[in-house]
């Protein structure tokens, strides 16, 4: 027969023993009144503790302890937190955008770089178009000239690049949020083999930077040039030398009074 210890009695009182062990304890208790008294005491303790605290489990559960409600509140909170975070990001973004838009334009030497980038973007987008490459066809040179001159707020002639082997396809008006006037003109030319070049022209107001810059962006070369009145970026896949030759013709026609440009390559 196994030894019945105090721990065994306790385990018996707490209902921890299996049927076999319980039967052995019961047999032992029948023969040992002291152990039986001790067990009775343990059982009395257990039922007293039950009597003290068990009623709490029978009370109606307050709604704040309903897991479904808590889960709902939690997901709502998480959503609110996310919304709040998004709002903070949004406000920061607006602040940064406003800071960028309201920055003193003349203090920003990188603005011309932005113009070059915009010129290349516009070039990439529109030279790929066939029927809609231009907004107003090159047949209407006079109309184009007066329209774009009005919109840009500066006199703009439509350069003739026939001597360089390019025919005039036409032009379009583009937004140019980086500069004070907010508008730019794009003129498009095409040679006999179908290669196209574009001129991206903006007023020079508020644009600082070098008078000339030649950069390569992707497959295209971009030649930027600024006079006191306008900036012009010539974009095309042609080698730099061809663009320069073309640029001389363009500059002469856009601003006949300007001196011949001096190239600075990067």
């Amino acid at each position: 027969m196994m030894e019945i210890t105090r721990d065994t009695l306790m385990a018996f009182a707490d209902g921890q023993l299996d049927a076999d062990a319980s039967a052995r304890v019961e047999a032992y208790l029948a023969a040992n009144p002291e152990a039986a008294a001790e067990l009775a005491q343990l059982q009395r303790q257990n039922s007293a503790i039950q009597a003290l605290f068990a009623p709490a489990a029978a009370e109606p559960v307050p709604s704040r302890l309903d897991p479904h409600r808590l889960a709902l509140a939690q997901s709502r909170n998480r959503w609110q937190t996310a919304t709040r975070a998004a709002m903070i990001v949004g406000v920061l973004g607006i602040g940064m955008a406003a800071g960028w838009l309201l920055r003193p334009v003349t203090d920003n030497p990188a603005l011309y770089n932005r113009l070059i980038a915009d010129a290349v973007s516009a070039h990439t987008v529109f030279v790929a178009e066939n029927r809609h490459a231009v907004e107003v066809s090159g047949d209407e040179t006079e109309h184009l000239s007066s329209w774009l001159s009005n919109r840009l707020g500066t006199g703009l002639a439509m350069p003739d690049l026939a001597t360089a082997g390019f025919s005039f396809l036409g032009g379009r008006l583009l937004p140019a949020p980086a500069i004070p006037g907010g508008r730019a003109a794009q003129l498009m030319y095409e040679d006999a083999s179908g290669e196209r070049v574009t001129l991206y022209i903006t007023p020079a107001t508020g644009v600082d930077g070098p008078a000339l810059e030649l950069v390569r962006l992707g497959d295209d070369n971009a030649l930027y040039w600024a006079s006191a009145i306008i900036t012009c970026t010539i974009v095309g896949p042609q080698p730099a030398e061809s663009l320069k030759a073309m640029a001389n013709v363009v500059f002469a026609q856009l601003t006949p009074a300007s001196p011949a440009p001096v190239y600075r390559e990067l």
């Binding site: 721990d7 067990l39 009775a40 009395r44 007293a48 068990a54 029978a58 808590l70 889960a71």
Partner: protein
């Protein structure tokens, strides 16, 4: 977690709430503090339900969370220098099956004098009726430690309630 699993999880959680309230009430002796504890426990369980493996017993997991929250709360109460009012005894609820047989108020005061580690063991076993092994897992202690704490708690109670000297001891069957 798919939404029907979430609903199952919440339903199962709901079935554990009465036991959690009972245990928390016995630990804190304060209905508001106890329900705050249970609410914290449920919120934690809901936000960590991804960590809960549906195969394990949810009850053990919840008791573990509640026990830890209670210990943390007590630690910070001690840091703040708050004291528990031992005289503010709760209502005693339903009377014992044999009224007056054991002085419940005396027992209640005696339980309050127990070290927390003994009190936790005592309540998980005698009040919640958990298996020793499950309680040992919840409290993260070896089985032997659990049994010795339980034995010491009972001996203290017996001494403090004067049960050892009671001449009219009778067996409760």
């Amino acid at each position: 977690m798919p939404s029907d699993l979430v609903a199952d999880f919440l339903d199962e959680l709901e079935t554990c709430v009465p036991a959690l309230r009972r245990y928390a009430r016995a630990l804190t002796r304060n209905i508001d503090r106890a329900d705050d504890l249970v609410q914290d426990c449920l919120e934690r369980a809901i936000s960590r339900r991804g960590l809960f493996r549906p195969t394990g017993p949810m009850r053990s997991w919840l008791f573990t969370i509640l026990t830890n929250l209670h210990r943390n709360a007590r630690r910070s109460e001690y840091r703040r220098g708050e004291t528990l009012d031992l005289d503010a005894l709760p209502e005693l609820g339903t009377p014992a099956p044999q009224p007056g047989y054991v002085a419940l108020a005396e027992l209640s005061r005696a339980i309050d004098t127990l070290p927390l580690e003994q009190k936790e063991v005592l309540l998980l076993i005698t009040l919640e009726g958990l298996a020793y092994a499950e309680a040992a897992t919840i409290l993260d202690i070896p089985l032997g430690t659990l049994m010795s704490r339980l034995g010491r708690a009972r001996a203290t109670l017996r001494q403090l309630t004067g049960a050892a000297q009671e001449p009219h001891l009778r067996s409760v069957k």
